[in-house]
Subunit: 149 residues, 2 copies
């Protein structure tokens, strides 16, 4: 059976946080012991139709992705579709589940009238760069961050 | 007199598009002859409190920036503040107006509870990379784009 992509619910938050923490970079950044901040963030995401937070459901949650539609003036008023927080559980890698998730995001972005799909990946994630390049993404930009905390 | 940063209005759209087109990359991407798509995008931005589209007003519009607050689950439910479409008119460069705009965005992001400010710049804009690094940004990510048009 192929896992299906569906909208995340509040009941999925613990599983999504588990996926975010199951990662070399995420392990140091997440706190799976207290879901309060995650649930509050989920409510903000879920209330705004600009966002689509989805899970890949294979009986249990095995993947997640957040898509956000961003209107802008540049490129003749182009709408950007931004992909964040793509994760597939480590026990299910090599099964093309990442492709399934990202292809869903690209199709959904097109369906909602976006002109470009964009994302950033940590410079250390060289496997991820090759993965996105195989799906047609071009590494044309530098992603810069300023932490406020 | 120091130029002031204020929320953009519909009447500013022509000037903002002029700024977007006054740029080596933007010149090929923008169409200053027909504002229809830009005005429609402006209305979408203006209607959503997640966005702040501002101009730098020096009697005339000499700069622009779009800030968007993005809730997310990762990093313990961190809110990201994304900066897009930063431009300063070519006749006013070297006057620290870019710093003024970006510092406003950082302050506004902090005021609205964001944990990180993020942006991408075209890999060819090496001056921009140095500019953002001077303001404390770290070039930690690769920005990838997939065009749908």
């Amino acid at each position: 059976m192929t896992p299906r992509i569906r909208r995340a619910t509040r009941d999925d938050v613990a599983a999504i946080v588990g996926l975010l923490a199951d990662d070399p970079l995420g392990a140091a950044r997440e706190d799976t012991g207290d879901l309060t901040a995650y649930l509050s963030a989920f409510d903000r995401i879920d209330a705004d139709p600009a966002h689509a937070l989805v899970v890949l459901d294979d009986g249990v949650v095995v993947g997640t992705l957040q898509l956000t539609l961003l209107p802008g003036l540049s490129r003749q008023g182009a709408t950007r579709a931004q992909v964040e927080a793509v994760r597939v559980t480590s026990t299910h890698r090599g099964q093309k589940l990442g492709e399934l998730l990202v292809q869903w995001a690209v199709d959904e972005a097109r369906r909602r009238g976006a002109d470009v799909v964009q994302l950033t990946t940590d410079a250390s994630r060289t496997d991820a760069h090759r993965f996105y390049e195989r799906l047609g993404f071009v590494a044309s930009h530098v992603g810069m961050k300023l932490s406020l905390v």
